[in-house]
Amino acid sequence: MKDEIQTPADRSANLKGMGCSRKRVEDVRFTQGKGNYVDDIKLDGMLVGDFVRSPYAHARVTAIETEAALKVPGVLAVLTAKDLEPLGLHWMPTLAGDKQMVLADGKVLFQGQEVAFVVATDRYAAADGVAAVEVEYEELPVVTDPFRALDPDAPVLREDLAGQTEGAHGPRRHHNHIFTWEVGDKEATEKVLDEADVVAEEMVYYHRTHPMPLETCGCVASMDKVTGKLTLWGTFQAPHAVRTVASLISGIAEHNIRVISPDIGGGFGNKVGVYPGYICSIVASIVTGKPVKWVESRMDNLMSTAFARDYWMNGRIAATKEGKITGLWCHTTADHGGFDACADPTKFPAGFMNICTGSYDIPVAYLAVDGVYTNKAPGGVAYRCSFRVTEAAYFIERMVEVLAIKLGMDAAELRRINFIREDQFPYQSALGWEYDSGNYHAAWDKALTAVGYDALRQEQAQRIADFKAGKTRKLLGIGLTHFTEIVGAGPVKNCDILGLGMFDSCEIRIHPTGSAIARLGTISQGQGHATTFAQIIASEIGIPADDITLEEGDTDTAPYGLGTYGSRSTPVAGAATAMAARKIRAKAQMIAAYLLEVHDGDVEFDVDRFVVKGAPERFKTMKEIAFASYNQAIPGLEPGLEAVSYYDPPNMTYPFGAYICVMEIDVDTGEHKVRKFYALDDCGTRINPMIIEGQVHGGATEGYAIAMGQEIVYDDMGNHKTATLMDFFVPTSWETPHYTTDHTVTPSPHHPIGAKGVGESPNVGSVPCFSNAVHDAFRPFGLVQSHMPHDQWRIWKIADDLGLHG
């Protein structure tokens, strides 16, 4: 047999297991236009729903006239809050413990809010119906500034909460106040600040933006009146959670709800929340007895479903005069819009913002976050990051730069002397986290060497001299970032969403002929799960990845899990996959021992088989073992070869990275050019280097967009100014920088395969890196802090304010 002369290395290569840059199996269908997205679903008699949206940011709704709309050919129904009220569905709970109007109940709180839902035979009729609905509004004073929202005389936004002084996360101290969240030792931190050699203080604003999945949000609801079963296809990043929430909200028994996430065209946090479109589609399907589809337009998406960021982070950082950081203080004002619809684990109303001590050994720290209502769209999701980690990383990476300016120190050196040292792991942070592993100094030195940091600084010095001498109008910025993430939510003891513990799952079934199917509680939105999770199984049990089908997203078949966001798939479901595989391997070992007529302990696993210890010519391949499990009566063992694992992670994982950006800036036009972007990521064990690189490119490109131009803007009247891709910046290949990727490997000690998750690192790390490059270019001329996004006019304004236009 050819098999027998193969070396272990050859056999291992055949598996395409962990560490192999296996090509993405998904791409065969995606690159041929054969994906199956929600909008591809077409059912018999399917109707389409569309929203009447509010043109005002704050107004009373005094009347809704639907008669004309109902006369539009093809329009079958127009739902308003009045229709939903008897079902108790005119409001819905949010993931953050607040509630949100499904359809305007007497008033609207943001421009674009859902007012009525028109159901029609097709999209065109629905749009005509929407245009024909007449709504009478009485405008109310608008507040879009979260600080102004807390003024005593600020307009009252949430009249439904009148007199409610206790919110989901503790006391509310003002009618537009949602919560205050405090972590750390306030007194000790303030004492350190009072007594420090040096204190740098700055307001760091991370502007409002929006995840930009190519595919917008949508669903198809189909209520089968005969079976009483509701099937809901949708762009859901957490299908099981949607099923449970749908059951709790609607009263339909959970076994009668089947939620299916088909192919998803990117999520980035936008598809975690529960939206009025889902509820209205379900109700419309129940009312009409027909399947109902709702798919957002791009404008709907940018105006109404979950924004990200909008954090005003006021910071103070204390240090000795040599630059050793001694304390960190942060007060954040969080603009949540009209409803608190953040998607965070329940006990963390500001997500993991308390990772804001970053990569540094900071002995004391204090963080307070105030959540505030304004007349803007709700959301506050983690746009390709784990629950506010990007905000935290941006904050600390700006504060370190600001401190470096105050100290007159090189920012690379300042970081180096403050990094948590390798021997300090596992490291207890001042704000309550246990960092699992890291080697920051090694990564940092590798990065600085790779870009030739010292030479870059020399070039920059020359450039400044040339600029001052009038020889050039271009400045050079060197942006530095060392970020630490916290991903893989998370341990059930402190992480849940609406009471659902944030474990995850994998079920593996080995077929008689030795191929397999695995199902997970997560759902890929482009991350390549079908590729990488098969690689984990391949390495763990010796079945080629190409022989493993991977399925996710159907709640009738997949084991329960909390879905994909917050880089949790590999840390949690990936761990479950390894654990399920190990259960199978353990049973396979017993079968092999039986077949080889030795004790269980006398065989050992060798790539794709079990061999008798000391007698390598005596073995049973996994293929043989699989077949035996189906055709032999093995004493003491059940037939078949299957396992399921529900994995509750003991801790989060803490990926980290060192990013460096070199940027040219034209002070006269505000234009910039990224000359180099170097990204070193340490995500622990690397499952598929090609996919990691792809994730880094994608995440860094989103980070580039956010730092350099992407923004959701409202004017003072609450008008949304950036609802199309003309003004909402999404880089094309032309604008996208070239990336150089690199890595170090520091496995997670508590994860079964040592993997940490990487999908979000590049967004978390690149935003401060690009921003720091802009700041660094102007540092010699006195710039300390300037808010993102650094689009052309804002860069021009920096130069203008610094007097660089003569």
Binding site: D50, R123, Y124, A126, A127, D128, A131, S297, R298, M299, D668, T669, G670, E671, G709, V713, K721, T722, M726, D727, F729, P731, T732, W734, E735, D791, Q792, W793, W796, K797, D800, H805
Partner: protein, 277 residues
């Protein structure tokens, strides 16, 4: 993003197209590439009962490079301007500008006629046509007439074209040999309209200067051209800055736009001068 319903017409000749325009008056509009009109319809900012597609009218297509002038059919796509053999030599600035419009997908479909007839101050061709002193051929129920590009633009989306007239061709005088030209445009990204763009021609004692998206019409400044013709670059920039009237939008505030306008203009002048022979 769903347009209201409309009737679709596809006449094969100009007379029929004009006839349909006459029949439906205000309710009707011609569509060329649709890349300005259809987005407006999808936003329901333009609601039309009748859409008259001009793409089957062959007489409105094609590029003819003559001795003194270039004649371009209104239905010629921006892509065709870029790939045409003789046009790049006769009017290098036209190709240079066309390459800075939107992206290849838009240019495959968008036409020069639609671009100049649209009346959007963001469009690049109108300013360029004023710089080049082009003339527009318009045909209506009462026959044909020519209007100079410099007289065509009245306000945003308002032009000298009558509702029942169709723009059939654009006639551009070929600049004297040795004339240097440049089209420089600052934008936020590929697919964006100009933050500021400048079209500059400079020959032996002659010059013409126009700018885009800095007022509600393109700005051609006679004084700026005269100053440049006399070699007075500062005077040219000052005249142009006096003529523009930019508004704040997502591209930035007025002060920024004025500053960038001056920078872009000076860069275009430098480039045009360096290409003069």
């Amino acid at each position: 993003m769903i347009p209201a319903g409309f009737e679709y017409h596809r006449p094969a000749d100009l007379t029929s197209a004009i006839g349909i325009l006459q029949e439906h008056g205000d309710e009707a509009r011609v569509v060329a590439g649709g890349h300005s009109l259809i987005p407006m319809m999808k936003l329901r900012m333009a609601e039309l009962g009748h859409l008259i597609d001009l793409q089957d009218i062959d007489a409105m297509k094609g590029i003819a490079v003559g001795g003194d002038t270039v004649t371009i059919g209104a239905m010629t796509t921006q892509h065709e301007l870029i790939v045409h053999d003789g046009l790049g030599a006769a009017l290098p600035i036209l190709r240079e500008a066309a390459l800075q419009i939107a992206d290849p997908q838009v240019r495959y479909v968008g036409t020069i006629g639609g671009n100049v007839a649209n009346g959007d101050p963001g469009n690049d061709m109108p300013g360029l046509m004023q710089c080049l002193n082009a003339r527009f051929d318009l045909t209506g129920p009462d026959g044909s007439r020519q209007v100079a590009a410099r007289d065509f633009y009245e306000a945003a989306y308002f032009t000298a074209r009558e509702d029942e007239e169709i723009l059939t061709a654009i006639i551009i005088p070929i600049p004297a040999p040795g004339t240097g030209s440049a089209y420089i445009k600052q934008k936020r990204k590929i697919g964006d309209y100009a933050t500021a763009a400048a079209a500059v021609l400079v020959g032996d004692g002659t010059a013409s200067v126009a700018m885009t998206n800095l007022a509600d019409t393109p700005i051609w400044s006679e004084a700026a051209g005269a100053a440049l013709a006399a070699g007075d670059i500062d005077g040219c920039a000052a005249a142009m800055l006096g003529a523009i009237d930019p508004q704040e939008d997502m591209r930035g505030p007025v002060a920024f736009k004025k500053h960038v306008a001056a920078v872009v203009l000076r860069r275009a002048i430098d480039s045009a001068l360096s290409r003069r022979s």
